[in-house]
């Protein structure tokens, strides 16, 4: 044993082959287990971080935000989602989720409340929205769960709507917020994605008024995001330079941007 420790600190040139094999093996395994231990420690540290929002801890949240910053710098968010011929659109379209749609709701009295940055509120009816130029899109709707479906939607470009109502100051802010009339479901969207030319305030599916379970009277369709951002039955619209609240990011631990 004494020789063993002495050999570890003896110059290689003074050792015979047997001693050298032992020395090299011991040193290699020592460092192997040191690094393996460090890796396990790092993993346990990461797993033990308290969840700051939903199930996602602060370090992981930071990574998600950094990823978005990296990819939105490398790539241009001006790219359009691929569009398809009408004949490929699914009918009926898949219904997935009824968050914010479970409360008592009277479509006849519905208005969209647009809370301006000065604090006053515009109350906009479906008929008003339908006055604006209509845009249709057939695109591959992608759910964060992993399924996708080609669907056909009609409505008003969000950017056209903002212009028509003179919401220029609001459009210059960093984030858009939307919530259902009962405020049980709400999403936050970065303004560049909201102002993307394919983002619609949508009132038609397959050429027909939206069914209730698809968000009648008015919903969002935002092809550059997963479906979670395409909020059904818009009750309130608001703007902020800070991130607006987001159900999936704040409660469920998902990435805030979920940009495609």
């Amino acid at each position: 044993m004494k020789n063993f420790f002495r050999d570890l600190f003896t110059k290689n040139s003074k050792l015979n082959t047997d001693q050298l094999i032992i020395k090299k093996t011991v040193i290699s395994f020592f460092f192997f287990f040191v690094f393996a231990g460090a890796a396990v420690w790092g993993w346990v540290w990461l797993r033990d971080q308290p969840s700051s929002s939903g199930r996602t801890s602060a370090p992981l949240r930071k990574v998600l935000n950094t990823n978005e910053a990296i990819f939105s710098n490398i790539l241009s968010d001006r790219h359009l989602a691929k569009t398809y011929p009408l004949s490929l659109a699914a009918n009926p379209a898949r219904v997935n989720g009824n968050l914010g749609l479970k409360s008592q709701f009277d479509p006849a009295t519905w208005v969209m409340n647009v809370i301006r940055s000065k604090g006053d509120t515009l109350k906009i009816r479906l008929e008003d929205i339908k006055q604006l130029p209509k845009t249709e899109i057939v695109f591959n709707f992608k759910c964060i769960e992993g399924w996708n479906q080609i669907t056909h939607w009609g409505g008003v470009k969000f950017s056209d709507f903002m212009k028509a109502y003179g919401l220029n100051e609001e459009a210059a802010m960093k984030y858009l917020g939307l919530s259902t009339p009962d405020k049980q479901y709400y999403v936050g969207i970065d303004m560049p994605s909201a102002m993307h030319p394919q983002t619609l305030l949508c009132y038609e599916l397959n050429g027909q008024p939206l069914p209730l379970d698809q968000g009648y009277p008015l919903r969002l369709i935002i092809p550059v995001k997963y479906g979670v951002k395409s909020l059904k039955r818009i009750g309130f619209m608001y703007f902020d330079n800070k991130r607006t609240p987001d159900y999936w990011a704040d409660v469920k631990g998902y990435d805030y941007f979920t940009g495609l």
Binding site: D18, K24, S28, F32, R55, T56, V63, L75, N140, G146
Partner: protein, 243 residues
């Protein structure tokens, strides 16, 4: 008995190998958390599924259900480690010349078959090999192609609008997802065969991935006297042919 230290794996290769192992493990685990949310793949004919990915008991045993957001968060952190480690490995093999030992050559596909027959104990003699045999060359090169495939299909799924051209290259969003999934099954199969082969090859081979060297044992050199037999011809007592 004479022992000799024979260098086998450079430090860089050992490093990349052992970083990749847990990182790929986390990628597969977090990938499962994601896949569970829409687990539609199966192998079968028409409506009969021979193999469903995956049975509920499998998910339950691994605590997979209802962890999609967690899976995404881990997947999008460890993707960086997987990517950087992979890039470093490829660059190293190119710059060090190690690629010469790894890439299959024009004999490899024929020889790989002989290696397979030998491993299955059908063929007695072992085909000659350098650092890696022909089957290893093919497997270790294929795994790099697979890694590149995983990164590219992963990017196509991650940013299908912004990288629409990449998505189209793989046959669309749905197809990119299937390829991404199939490659992962490929890694698992590779891993299983790899483990079996490492166990069969023995300790000396395994520890070389940690220490970098193998110990070569040769019998002590003794003057070999030709044994004179009745024919008067010297007889070769070693297995090597006389030169």
């Amino acid at each position: 008995m004479k022992k000799e230290i024979v260098k086998k794996h450079p430090l860089a290769i050992r490093w990349f190998h052992w970083v990749n192992f847990p990182v790929l493990g986390v990628m597969i685990w977090s990938g499962l958390l994601i896949y569970w949310a829409n687990d539609v793949y199966k192998i079968g004919f028409g409506s009969t599924a021979l193999l469903k990915f995956f049975p509920d008991s499998f998910y339950k045993a691994l605590h997979i259900p209802y962890r999609l957001s967690e899976g995404m968060a881990y997947h999008f952190l460890f993707m960086w480690l997987f990517f950087l480690n992979g890039i470093a490995y490829v660059l190293y093999t190119i710059l060090s010349g190690e690629w010469r030992l790894l890439l299959p050559n024009r004999h490899s596909f024929k020889e790989a078959w002989q290696v397979l027959l030998h491993d299955l104990h059908i063929r007695k003699t072992k085909p000659s090999q350098g650092k890696y045999n022909a089957a290893q060359r093919i497997a270790y090169s294929a795994i790099i192609i697979m890694g590149i495939g995983s990164i590219l299909t992963g990017l196509a799924i991650y940013k299908p609008v912004q990288l629409g051209w990449l998505c189209a290259l793989f046959g669309g969003y749905k197809m990119a997802r299937i390829i991404h999934f199939a490659l992962t099954i490929g890694y698992v199969l590779f891993f299983l065969i790899h483990i079996i082969q490492v166990i069969l090859a023995g300790w000396n081979n395994f520890q070389a991935m940690i220490t970098g060297f193998e110990v070569k044992k040769t019998e002590d050199e003794q003057p070999v006297l030709p044994v004179v037999e009745t024919t008067g011809e010297p007889v070769n007592r070693t297995e090597e042919p006389l030169k």
